[in-house]
Symmetry: C2
Subunit: 247 residues, 2 copies
């Protein structure tokens, strides 16, 4: 696979490069094995979307950027795959918005938390982002969830009003909504519970999304807070696009 990934002319170059990133993250202890399965599910939906950013995704992302910029306590909540595939872009966006990044993973182990925070710290230092990193010492609980996945930081996710949380689990998305937060998810499956329950759903691949988000936040004139936006309409457009692929 390594030879394929090194050849930009290969038709699946981007996909193979992403797999290399996940492979590296797994070796560094950042991921549970189920992370690869989740990535494969995403690949299937991305394939159905033609592996491209659609207008409905850009529209949702512009709205998400406006929501984050007008928030009192915005935050990025990241899991293993997000850090592996778009760690640098997440920190770049957090710097542009001036908000913290909290590591919040489904199968929480101290080893994995350490590996993820070490990775983010290295990117932070290398690029002088100085973004506040949270998650190491959870001291609050998301109501309605059980076990380690309920844990978060009081001054982080718990107190936030707008959470940008790519690749989120459906239960946790619902629990964050129940706390009254604006929840922005990035999810390739427009039918998933996360996609259906979020305040704003960006139906797009996470690394394409984050690269576009860096561009939007670097050119704030692109953001308009007066745009009409209805999440259900966006989702229907995503579903219609996938249906069109099945001919």
């Amino acid at each position: 696979m390594s030879d394929h990934a090194a050849d930009p002319s290969h038709p699946r170059y981007t996909s193979l490069l992403q797999r290399k990133k996940l492979e590296r993250a797994l070796e560094l202890g950042m991921l549970a094995h189920s992370a690869h399965i989740a990535h494969g599910r995403g690949e299937a939906f991305d394939y159905l979307l033609g592996e491209q950013t659609h207008e409905f995704a850009t529209s949702a992302l512009l709205h998400a950027c406006a929501a984050l910029q007008s928030a009192k306590h915005p935050i990025f909540s990241v899991n293993g795959n997000t850090v592996a595939l778009a760690g640098k872009e997440i920190l770049e966006c957090a710097k542009l918005i001036s908000c913290p990044v909290e590591v919040n993973i489904f199968y929480r182990t101290e080893k994995r938390m350490d590996a993820l925070l070490t990775e983010l710290k290295q990117i932070n230092e290398e690029h002088n982002y100085n973004v506040e990193l949270l998650g190491q010492q959870p001291n609050a609980t998301i109501p309605g969830l059980k076990g380690p996945r309920a844990q978060c930081e009081q001054d982080g996710i718990f107190s936030s009003d707008v959470v940008f949380v790519p690749l989120e689990d459906g239960d946790r998305c619902g629990a964050l909504r129940d706390m009254g937060k604006t929840v922005i998810v990035v999810d390739l499956n427009p039918l998933s519970r996360s996609a259906q329950n979020a305040s704003i759903t960006i139906v797009n691949e996470v690394s394409r999304t984050m690269r576009e988000m860096v561009d939007i936040l670097s050119h704030p004139d692109r953001i308009r807070s007066d745009i009409e936006f209805d999440n259900k309409t966006q989702l229907h457009r995503a579903i219609a696009t996938i249906r069109k692929g099945f001919v």
Copy 2:
């Protein structure tokens, strides 16, 4: 995950049990990491099919059983995920048809070949199947393919007239067809190159398929060789079923 997988009342029990099987196979050295990604892609399509066996899949499987039974040199070609998820059923079917099973993997390493053949040998002995196991010493090459994935055994895949090969790669499916063989694939994505190029495509999850195949081969009166069958029609029905899920 282990707690979830142990609880049959969990709505995703079957799916979690499959993941446990893959986890075990990975620990035993039977799989490349990309196997988990491939499984995730399959999960997405199975989700779109409602995680159930549809009539078009049973129809294709009945036709596949008839083709295997009337073949001169039928064979099962298996990869890591197939052995992990349905190793026992594969051997049971091979015994019922009286044909060999050849391990033939995309990312061939001796370590992985050993692990897969050891697993199959254990099942073989435990159940007294006495099925011939091939793949350890490839001495022939599938024309049109490069590298280790072209390798196969002269008295196995190379000389076969009907190959049952679940979860096959598109290139290899095409190369086997080019050799004039009847190629039967099990593939959850009806749009994939394997699905589109196979002689018979069973659009279904591999462990459900193999359990049903054991039942069919144990009740040969279910098999009718006079059934009308058109693979393109089956594929269209699978595609239509997935489209219906997107509403």
